[in-house]
């Protein structure tokens, strides 16, 4: 599904005849549509469903880099920041969201975010922005604190710890994009870039949580902001953002911290699992572990089982796991079958469970901090292997706790890829402004263009039909659903 910006022409105040007016309006409409589809400033992109390649069509308007290079910053400057914890500021901003939000308003907000810039209903946008005035001011303030500490109680409660109000933060970022769009429509680039700073800072702060979900929400907010950058680039006469994009930190979001938490989330959620590694397991310890396991996997949503139920479940699980546990100790820990037979059942389970859990988790997590071009194919294979029935020693706990990581890694890498590709787009605009022609290849730009992080190779660059396409096709993406194409259309 695509949509195109269309120019809106207001009629004059002359008293024409009805026929003439209808004819003129129809002609103007057709002409407007024709212009919109051919020569006018339009940025077009499909709805990013993740099921098809993302092709963003941007009209090519040559634009020389600014002087000084970093006249615009896409993140708040240090001199504009103040000491403090941004999380408190964001919490206050969430509190200021208007309480009388309706479904109709939510629909209207979605329309304002996605309709062509030329069609943006300014009155409706201003009305929503007025409702969110306090919240947006507070958001601006919060985004300029110098650090964030969400103070989620993950080290005591594991996955049971409540997360920040992620949906509300996303809601605020959506309203912020409406404000940016209004600025862009008014060609007020200085105001737009200040709000982009707020949005990108919000994305980074949101991503600095312990839960991977936070990183993904941060990536979604960053995605909304890069979409506005695309819109900016599509406006004739817009300032070139090559150096501001180059100055953005990569990776934009701090993912390793969240990945480290997710890897040990089961240990943080089930204290008995930690204790199992420290001392031999007893029957009572196994029963406590199963109860803790059940509690962690149910998120405390269910009534805790009675004692006899716990014992019954512990016995049932022990019966189920014991054969695999024995086999594991013999084959992986190299114990003799006789020694394993002599061990109490609880000891066999205690030796097996944490070791096998780590083994199952490590086979996936060992790849996550590698560059995405290496990590993504390896992760996909590891997750395919993990899903195989009869996969080697797949641990029950890992089955429940191991998330699908390749998508999360891709989404994070995609944020950086988009910034890198937009940098290349701005490089082309700068070259065209200086040389009045299109560069033959990216090397001709004479600018530091990053490689495509999905492949660790230069972006695919083609000059065709008087325009340019810059393409990124991730490795092992036969359906090309993760492909990103920037198509710069010539005048």
């Amino acid at each position: 599904m695509t949509y195109t910006h269309r120019l809106r022409r207001d009629g004059g105040g002359q008293k024409w005849s009805l026929t003439l007016r209808i004819g003129c309006v129809a002609a103007a409409g057709m002409l407007g549509t024709l212009l919109a589809r051919t020569a006018c400033a339009q940025t077009t992109w499909p709805e990013r469903t993740g099921q098809q390649p993302t092709r963003v069509i941007i009209p090519l308007h040559p634009s020389a880099p600014q002087t000084p290079d970093l006249q615009y910053h896409l993140l708040p400057r240090a001199s504009d920041m103040h000491a403090g914890n941004a999380a408190l500021g964001y919490a206050a901003a969430v509190e200021m969201i208007p309480p009388d939000r309706t479904a109709a308003e939510a629909d209207e907000l979605e329309t304002l975010r996605t309709e062509p810039l030329a069609d943006l209903d300014e009155k409706a946008a201003q009305k929503i922005l007025a409702n969110y005035d306090h919240a947006l001011r507070q958001l601006r303030l919060a985004a300029r604190y110098d650090y964030v500490d969400w103070q989620t109680d993950v080290f005591n409660r594991g996955l049971d710890a409540p997360l920040p109000s992620l949906s509300f933060l996303r809601q605020l970022s959506n309203v912020l994009t409406v404000a940016i769009r209004l600025d862009l429509k008014h060609r007020d680039f200085a105001a737009a870039v200040e709000k982009l700073q707020t949005g990108f800072a919000l994305a980074r702060h949101t991503g600095e949580g312990h839960a991977l979900i936070q990183t993904l929400v941060g990536a979604a907010i960053a995605g909304a902001m890069t979409r506005e950058v695309e819109e900016w680039i599509g406006i004739d006469g817009s300032p070139n953002l090559f150096w501001p994009l180059a100055y953005m930190p990569r990776p934009l979001l701090d993912m390793p911290r969240a990945l480290a938490f997710e890897k040990d989330a089961a240990y943080l959620s089930i204290p008995e699992l930690r204790q199992m590694r420290a001392r031999p397991l007893t029957v009572a310890g196994w029963t406590r572990f199963v109860a803790g396991f059940q509690s962690a996997s149910s998120g405390g949503d269910v009534e805790p089982p009675k004692t006899y139920e716990q014992q019954l479940q512990a016995t049932g699980l022990a019966l189920m796991i014991y054969p695999s546990a024995k086999q594991y100790l013999i084959e992986r820990q190299h114990l003799s079958p006789e020694d394993v037979d002599k061990m109490p059942v609880a000891e066999v389970l205690g030796r097996y469970f944490p070791d096998s859990f780590d083994a199952s988790m490590d086979r996936t997590f060992r790849y996550v901090n590698l560059p995405p071009a290496v990590a993504l194919p390896a992760l996909r294979k590891a997750e395919r292997d993990f899903g195989q029935p009869g996969g080697m020693y797949t641990n029950l706990l890992a089955r429940i706790f191991l998330p699908s990581l390749d998508r999360a890694i891709f989404i994070n890498a995609n944020t950086n890829r988009t910034l890198d590709a937009l940098e290349a787009v701005e490089g082309v605009r700068a070259y065209a402004a200086e040389h009045h022609e299109l560069p033959a290849n990216l090397a001709a730009l004479g600018l530091p263009i990053p490689n495509d992080p999905m492949t660790a190779r230069p972006f695919d660059y083609r000059v065709e039909n008087g325009g340019v396409t810059i393409t990124s096709v991730p490795l092992e993406d036969p359906a090309a659903r993760d492909t990103l194409i920037y198509q710069l259309t010539g005048p």
């Binding site: 309706t102 479904a103 992620l166 979900i213 998120g299 395919r384 996969g391 029950l396 089955r399 699908s404």
Partner: protein, 180 residues
């Protein structure tokens, strides 16, 4: 009163001499009772006396146990997940039921064929991932778009709405004794 012994050292009659020599051959034996042996013998005697009754009770108990197990199997069997090889790989796919409990054979690599009834029974002991855990796995596999949207409010204003700045100023003014 005892009669004094023959201190004169007179000779004993022949029949007493023979008795004396037999007495001299007697050695004192260790005192006590073999309690283990006694308990064993007592148990065996009791067992033998009730053997017929015991056999009947054990037979009935065994039969009853098997009957109960069969009933439980019949009741629980329809709820047990089917042990099909494709389940586990589909469960982690984008369209799959992410985080759902897997079949027993896939979960713990249960080794023996013919255990399907037992596996089906045991699968009832598998912990079920919570809705929150399922949601977390779903978001991580699909991205933040899987986050639930904010539910629209009822449209009824909150009881104590945030005062606007123009409302605050008069309040502050009155509190400090100033006129706004």
């Amino acid at each position: 009163m005892q009669e004094p012994m023959n201190e004169g050292g007179g000779e004993l009659p022949e029949e007493l001499k023979a008795f004396e020599s037999r007495l001299a051959g007697v050695r004192p034996a260790a005192a006590g009772i073999d309690r283990d042996r006694m308990l064993f013998e007592a148990g065996r005697a009791a067992g033998l006396s009730g053997a017929k009754r015991a056999r009947w009770v054990w037979g009935a108990g065994t039969f009853g146990g098997w009957a109960a197990a069969a009933c439980v199997a019949l009741v629980l069997w329809p709820h047990a997940p089917k042990a099909t090889p494709g389940n586990s790989s589909e469960a982690r796919g984008p369209g799959g039921d992410v985080g759902a409990p897997q079949n027993v054979q896939a979960v713990e690599n249960a080794p023996r064929a013919g255990d399907s009834v037992l596996a089906g029974l045991l699968s009832n002991f598998l912990p079920q991932p919570s809705p929150a855990l399922r949601e977390r796995n779903l978001i991580l596999s699909r991205g933040a778009d899987a986050l639930p949207d904010l539910p629209p409010s009822t449209g009824i204003p909150a009881a104590d709405p945030l005062p606007e700045s123009y409302q605050l100023h008069p309040l502050l003014g009155h509190a400090k004794g100033f006129r706004s």
